[in-house]
């Protein structure tokens, strides 16, 4: 059984039909990526999965359990954590407090401590800046913090929304290496990206989203070599 099964979901913002029947699945241990143009509905898909918005039709199951009617906080408790688009860290909380907030739903003190060490090991920069207010971190550091904060929930499924947005190439490499590392440590990742080349090269499988519909899917390699993808998302003629 897939860890996450999204079945024909339709999500609306008022009258706007943002998702028009999306079906995807993510297996345990995978990195799956969702690519597509601006406004295609990538963030909406992630937000629907984690319960910030609710689908009007369709089902979402997490290891067989339906979650699409649950409020966001209950979905977090079931092991789905998101690092939202645009690194929305709690600006007026310190780095350490932000990470603590990530572990909000957990009660296991030992596990939280272990995960904190893990995050600090993945992002040593955060450890140096524990006491700094998150709002004063650089963009790259904030992105690290957003990912670290999501990891603090010790999720079964980590949702990352454009983690490379606005970062210098060298930091983009670091972030993607870290995502691979996180995955190697056993966390399943659903990754939304504009940087299709990087995303496809680390993903096991990928979906291409266009105006609320899935138009292509396959393994990362397949899509990397797909002429349409090359033209539309990789800028290769």
């Amino acid at each position: 059984m897939a860890l996450l099964q999204v079945d024909d979901i339709h999500t609306y913002y008022g009258a706007i039909h943002a998702l028009k029947g999306i079906s995807i699945h993510v297996d345990k241990g995978e990195i799956v990526t969702l690519i597509g143009a601006n406004g295609a509905g990538k963030s909406t898909t992630l937000n629907t999965i984690c319960g910030v918005v609710h689908p009007r039709h369709g089902t979402i199951t997490l290891e067989g359990e339906e979650i699409h009617r649950l409020p966001a906080h209950e979905i977090v408790m079931r092991g789905v954590a998101q690092a939202p688009e645009g690194r929305r860290v709690f600006g007026r909380l310190t780095v350490a407090e932000n990470l603590e907030m990530g572990a909000f739903t957990r009660k296991d003190k030992e596990g939280i401590k272990r995960d904190l060490e893990r995050v600090y090991a993945l992002f040593p920069r955060l450890k140096e800046r524990q006491k700094q207010l998150a709002g004063t971190l650089s963009g790259g550091e904030q992105q690290m913090l957003a990912i670290g904060r999501a990891l603090m929930a010790n999720p079964r499924l980590l949702l990352l929304d454009e983690p490379s947005m606005g970062l210098a190439p060298i930091l983009v490499d670091l972030i993607f290496d870290t995502i691979k590392e996180i995955n190697a440590q056993g966390t399943t990742v659903l990754l939304v990206e504009q940087n299709a080349l990087m995303a496809l090269s680390i993903a096991h499988r990928a979906y291409v989203l266009e105006t609320g519909n899935i138009v292509l899917s396959g393994t990362g390699k397949e899509l990397l070599n797909n002429p349409e993808v090359m033209k539309a998302y990789l800028g290769v003629e």
Partner: protein, 548 residues
């Protein structure tokens, strides 16, 4: 790299911004003229601060001179560079400009009748401004005095910051002590010698404390924890004894203290809603009204349709319950609203509650504009004490409980939820915070404390009328927490003392209360947005990168 930075700072030190000094002086002049034309100087001319030397009106003018000249002296070079002796010149210049503008006002005022527009532009004002010497002697004197005052303020900028702070405190202490003496003990200000002693005392204490305080704190921190706790206990016992002894000041001071206390109580509640949870509630008075009316209905013998006639104590839990329920009920419809929308809806809610109590429709039940009277006292005062004196203990109990609840909540998981929600609702939700529960809890707790305030208010006055529950109450409470320091619990105390206590003492101010409120708020937002006694976190945020 370092060399260039260095040379740049050196350059900065030498640039002198005389135009800024003049600008600040001009602003000071405008403020001084304004204060004169709205009648403050005249109205407060009768109240003596230092016998035979200074009236409250003059103190205000003096404050304008000192503050603006000091600002001007600082503007000369910008905050991080020292101007040296030139700052005395800058201060004097600013002071002179203020005087020149006031002098111009006097000259114009004597030629043209300004009273058609400014009723306070009276001969009495000209007399006050010319120090009773008339034109032109008085004007020359005014300018000389302005320059001297400005120079003194500029000189203040030369002092090392520790000494400067001590001197400023001493200067502020004189009028405050004097006003307290006048208002509470029917004194007539203080004598010149008394003023000097007060100034010296507070300056010395402040200066001494700033040098000894740090060491003392270190030494205390070095003590074994048992002794530390003992010291803390002694400190708190002293505070507690002081608080318990307050009614001994007399019936009139007690009344003022009670009023301040009610505002502290409400401030603590609103602080939870606005400061902790970041929900801008402008209808806070609604719960205050509901608490008061619940008491009125349940206890007054006037209410014949519900002949319960409970005691105040029996009715109190019901008032709290009404607060909790109404807070929750208001919370539900506004769950989806944020920021300004929330503010407007709650504002409307506050007015609706008042209008309901005022309506003809409910008149048979709650008395309409006649309100409810004959509300019983909570505790009969012992022989020789007034009701207001005894009431203080109820107020105090309320404050202690409220402060305890607020502190506990702040450092609990719920407090964290509020903080995260205040920062970013969506992300907070995505972290697993139940927004509905978190918001409603904030509304309900805040409303309960406001209802307690209302309950005490009802028994304090023994009669309540709808017009006591207008928007101004909400604004006052909000101003108290803004001035005190949003999110800070001790800040609420300081804010209430400053914004509720002081105006009560200065009865002549009543007319200018809102004016002063506005001025104080604008000044605070510009100069000290974190409030008088800020939460450590807010201070960190707003003054990051500034030298400490």
């Amino acid at each position: 790299m370092t060399a260039t930075t260095l040379s740049r700072t050196a350059e900065k030190e030498t640039t002198l911004h005389w135009s800024r000094v003049v600008g600040t002086g001009l602003i000071g002049g405008v403020v001084a003229i304004y204060v004169g034309l709205v009648g403050m100087i005249e109205a407060l001319a009768g109240r003596v601060v230092i016998t035979g030397l200074l009236t409250t009106g003059q103190v205000i003018l003096l404050g304008v001179y000192l503050l603006m000249s000091y600002q001007a002296a600082q503007k000369l070079t910008g905050a991080d560079a020292k101007a040296g002796p030139l700052s005395v010149v800058a201060g004097a210049l600013a002071g002179l400009i203020i005087s020149i503008m006031l002098a111009l006002l006097v000259v114009i005022g004597q030629q043209i009748n300004l009273r058609a527009m400014f009723i306070n532009a009276s001969p009495r004002l000209w007399e006050l401004l010319t120090l009773g010497r008339g034109v032109p002697t008085g004007l020359v004197l005014l300018m000389a005095l302005g320059a001297v005052l400005g120079a003194l303020a500029g000189g203040l900028a030369l002092l090392p910051s520790r000494l400067r702070r001590a001197v400023s405190l001493g200067l502020v202490a004189v009028p405050i002590v004097s006003i307290l003496n006048t208002a509470l003990f029917a004194g007539r200000g203080v004598s010149a010698l008394g003023a000097l002693l007060i100034f010296a005392f507070f300056t010395a204490i402040s200066y001494g404390w700033s040098s000894v305080g740090g060491q003392a704190r270190e030494r205390v921190a070095a003590l074994p924890s048992g002794q530390q706790r003992l010291l803390k206990m002694i400190g708190w016992s002293a505070v507690a004894l002081g608080a318990l002894a307050l009614p001994l000041l007399g019936p009139y001071p007690s009344e003022i203290i009670d009023t301040v206390g009610i505002y502290v109580l409400m401030g603590l509640g609103l602080n939870i809603v606005v400061g902790f949870a970041g929900l801008l509630d402008l209808g806070y008075v609604a719960f205050f009204a509901l608490g008061a009316y619940t008491i009125g209905i349940l206890t007054s013998p006037e209410i014949t349709w519900l002949p319960l006639h409970l005691t105040w104590w029996e009715a109190l839990p019901i008032a709290i319950l009404v607060g909790v329920i109404s807070g929750t009920l208001l919370g539900i419809p506004v769950l989806q609203m944020r920021g300004d929308y929330l503010a407007i809806v709650t504002l409307g809610f506050g007015e609706i509650i008042r209008l309901i109590f005022l309506s003809d429709w409910l008149k048979p039940l709650v008395g309409g504009s006649n309100g409810i009277t004959r509300i019983p006292r909570a505790v009969p005062p012992p022989q020789g004490f007034s009701d207001q004196q005894v009431l203080w203990y109820i107020v105090l109990a309320g404050i202690v409980v409220a402060a305890y609840i607020a502190t506990r909540l702040k450092y609990s998981r719920i407090g964290r939820n509020w903080m995260a929600m205040r920062e970013d609702e969506d992300v907070a939700q995505a972290m697993g915070i139940d927004l509905v529960k978190t918001k409603l809890l904030a509304f309900a707790t805040g409303a309960a404390l406001s209802a307690v305030g209302g309950a005490i208010f009802a028994t304090k006055l023994t009669s309540i009328y709808p017009h006591s529950f207008n928007l101004l109450v909400s604004i006052n409470v909000l101003a108290v927490i803004i001035v005190g320091g949003m999110g800070s619990i001790p800040g609420v105390l300081v804010g209430a003392l400053a914004l509720v206590g002081l105006p009560e003492l200065l009865r002549e101010f009543a007319e200018y209360r809102l004016l002063v409120y506005g001025a104080v708020l604008v000044f605070m937002m510009l100069k000290r947005p974190e409030g008088l006694l800020p939460e450590a976190r807010r201070k960190l945020e707003l003054h990051e990168g500034e030298e400490v």
